[in-house]
């Protein structure tokens, strides 16, 4: 197929489908670093014109990453649901954009086509959509998952409590858990990034988190974000593993860079399911992703970073995860340069994940060498909450003292709940009420300094 159009008297031609997609992407430093970005603003619009007229089913006939060379492509093609795709098969990418925005296209319609969509179709249509379009459509989509509570219900926003410590000190971690719970944070997961990634270290922390959870019968799940092979070993040793975590990306080679393949993820899912620890559901996997992961592993196959990111969601959905989040500003300014690029990428990732049927959350974050600050995070957290984001990550005072980057604060969760009326997962909300932490309006009660909350026993007080 030829990819070209005439725009204002100038002819624009593109050498391949990957070239069209890369040039159609909103500007970002990672595509410039890879030498894939549009060389002019006009070329970017021309690529969007070309993309708008492409039939959706073209993506089923032309693989961006070769089928023979890549197990992620094989997963995408072999698991494609032709019946679910049937109602969209006559559309162009531009027509698909209009169908998504049509007011008659509701949550049920989106869910019905999810398995008929490939990541490439979803990435393509996102490039034709403004930020408000990404928000409006994602807001209509519902992806509901469950373990000890239910994530993704309408009007709900869950939070991951991230109590990291630079030396994995158990009391220091417990102190940060206490801080998060007092802000009503932690229904998505209480999840630690360990400073030292080892089997004994992770097992110690898993036992500690499970003890904390059981001490107050908290209806949530815990996780130590250690490598999947460590999690398998820890499960074999009998430790109380709720969720198995892994970082994933959109190509076989990039996943190999993370030390994983689809087979090991399946083995881990089976092992965690075998523990049968969920009470209201059995979604046992937790994945993190982020634009730029494939390029940084030199495993992007000449494909733009947003399309590669969306392919990671196809990997995720094959394992029925409880939680998936993009760590949107973590990887650095060579991939997403500033607040504008981070905000756009966060909205794209959330939209694309939701459309594919993935329980999408976001780590709204940035590093100190990016052109971004807390004002940008305020904007993105607000937009994502309007978009119906499944969960956000919170750390005390926005400062992750182990990973040295800034995320949302526990206070930001309070602000979003008060400002947007979003509530925690229902089982967790009922627990907060039992603990006397909700005020009459359903907000988190502020504690007087002279009082001691019952939860203080968590930290030995």
């Amino acid at each position: 197929m030829r990819y070209s159009c005439d725009l204002g008297g100038e002819r624009h031609a593109f050498g391949s489908l990957a070239h069209v997609l890369a040039c159609a992407s909103p500007a970002r430093s990672g595509d410039e670093l890879a030498g894939l970005a549009a060389h002019s603003a006009a070329q970017r619009v021309a690529a969007r014109r070309v993309l708008a007229d492409l039939p959706l089913d073209h993506f089923l006939n032309e693989a961006l990453v070769p089928y023979e060379a890549d197990e992620v492509t094989r997963l995408i093609i072999d698991s494609h649901d032709a019946a679910a795709f049937a109602r969209l098969s006559h559309l162009t990418v531009g027509g698909f954009r209009d169908w998504l925005l049509d007011t008659v296209t509701d949550a049920a319609a989106l869910a019905a086509v999810a398995r008929g969509l490939t990541p490439e179709m979803v990435a393509a249509v996102s490039k034709l959509m403004r930020n408000q379009d990404l928000i409006a459509v994602a807001r209509k989509a519902r992806v509901v998952t469950a373990f000890r509570n239910t994530i993704g219900l309408e009007g709900r926003l869950a939070t991951r409590l991230q109590p990291n410590h630079p030396a994995d000190d158990p009391l220091g971690i417990a102190a940060a858990v206490f801080d998060g719970l007092l802000h009503g944070v932690g229904d998505a997961v209480i999840g630690i990034n360990p400073a030292t990634d080892s089997v004994p270290g992770a097992a110690t922390l898993i036992h500690m988190l499970d003890d904390l959870r059981q001490a107050y019968d908290i209806p949530t799940q815990t996780c130590v974000l250690t490598h999947v092979t460590n999690a398998l070993e820890i499960i074999a040793r009998g430790a109380p593993v709720d969720l198995v975590f892994q970082s994933i990306a959109g190509s076989e080679a990039a996943n190999r860079g993370f030390g994983v393949d689809l087979a090991i993820l399946k083995e881990a899912q089976d092992a965690a399911l075998g523990l049968n620890r969920g009470t209201v559901g059995h979604n046992v996997m937790y994945f993190e992703t982020g634009q730029g992961a494939a390029l940084s592993a030199n495993a992007h196959h000449g494909v733009d970073q947003q399309t590669m990111e969306t392919r990671a969601y196809a990997v995720a959905r094959a394992f029925d995860p409880l939680l998936v989040n993009t760590v949107v500003g973590f990887i650095g300014p060579e991939y997403l340069y500033d607040g504008k690029q981070i905000i756009r990428a966060g909205l794209e990732d959330h939209f694309c994940g939701k459309l594919l049927g993935v329980p999408m959350g976001v780590d709204v974050c940035y590093t100190n060498h990016a052109e971004a600050d807390q004002d940008d995070m305020d904007t993105l957290m607000t937009l994502l909450t309007v978009a119906g984001c499944s969960f956000l990550i919170c750390v005390p005072g926005s400062d992750d003292v182990m990973l040295s980057y800034q995320s949302l604060s526990n206070h930001d969760a309070l602000t979003l709940r008060a400002m947007m009326g979003v509530r925690p997962a229902p089982e967790f909300e009922a627990w907060l009420d039992r603990m006397g932490m909700l005020d009459a309006a359903g907000g988190i009660r502020a504690l007087a300094s002279g009082t001691v909350p019952p939860l203080a026993r968590l930290v030995g007080a």
Binding site: N368, G397, V401, T451, R457
Partner: protein, 269 residues
């Protein structure tokens, strides 16, 4: 965790005072409405401002050269002409500018060890700590020949590869400013590469990270560790994942996370 409350019962303020000793995390900050008290907002902004200033401050290479005297010094630039380009294009920070390459002194018979001081992501840290760190390292390397100390602008770790090759160094040691965090903005890292030449992978380097005065590794401890590693590297004729030390060593690689992520490391979560 399940012990009975001591008597008399502590207040919440007492509990936070105790807990703050267990973690540098910003816990127990208090609330104004649904958000943070202003003092905590401004504390955070100051920490972020210091980290940003550390990223963007230019390295005063002449002052650093004076700090290094009487050690011979050569100043070079990478292909990244300025900070914005450097931040967007890590590839340009890994190659030596043509002008710098042609101005290098003759390699002669080469040297055992070449030190390259690069600004990296914290010129502040390099300005204040690199000279003392290099001196401490050289003191651990009796009997080895040391090349001129290279001071490199807009440098990534891999800039040591073309420099080490051009000056025929058996080992290149890159001293570089690490990505600033909110708590520490002047941390340094040391990267050792045996047989430097362009194309070396990160898995062929050893990293000693987190060298700073605020609870990090001291220059003396880092230098002692480097000395052991470097002699072992010369003995084995390699560096990287196959070179180990008994001391707790932060190796860059998959599945490893350190308190201060080495700047060239793919983020590992």
């Amino acid at each position: 965790m399940t012990s009975e409350p001591p008597s008399p019962a502590p207040t919440l303020q007492d509990i936070w005072t105790t807990l703050r000793a267990t973690t540098p995390a910003r816990i127990g900050l208090g609330r104004v409405g649904n958000t943070l008290p202003l003092a905590d907002v401004l504390d955070f902004q100051l920490a972020h401002a210091r980290a940003r200033d550390a990223v963007h401050a230019p390295l005063d290479a002449d002052a650093l050269a004076a700090d290094l005297a009487p050690l011979p010094v050569v100043q070079v630039c990478s292909d990244a002409p300025d900070r914005p380009t450097y931040l967007r294009r890590p590839d340009l920070g890994r190659t030596l500018s043509k002008a710098s390459f042609s101005a290098l002194p003759p390699a002669g018979d080469g040297c055992d060890v070449l030190f390259v001081i690069g600004d990296g992501l914290s010129a502040t840290g390099v300005q204040s700590g690199a000279a003392a760190l290099v001196r401490a390292c050289i003191a651990e390397l009796h009997g080895l020949s040391i090349g001129p100390v290279i001071i490199a602008w807009q440098a990534r770790v891999a800039l040591g590869d073309p420099l080490g090759e051009a000056l025929r160094a058996r080992v290149v040691v890159v001293v570089i400013g690490e990505r600033p965090g909110l708590s520490v903005a002047d941390s340094l890292g040391l990267y050792l590469t045996y047989g430097p030449r362009p194309g070396r992978a990160d898995s062929e380097r050893n990293c000693i990270s987190n060298i700073h005065a605020a609870g990090g590794l001291s220059p003396a401890a880092a230098a002692a560790l480097l000395g052991r590693l470097l002699r072992e590297s010369l003995r084995l004729g390699l560096s990287g994942v196959d070179l180990k030390d008994d001391a707790a060593l932060l190796l860059a690689g998959p599945g490893t996370a350190s308190a201060y992520t080495p700047i060239e490391e793919t983020p590992s979560r």
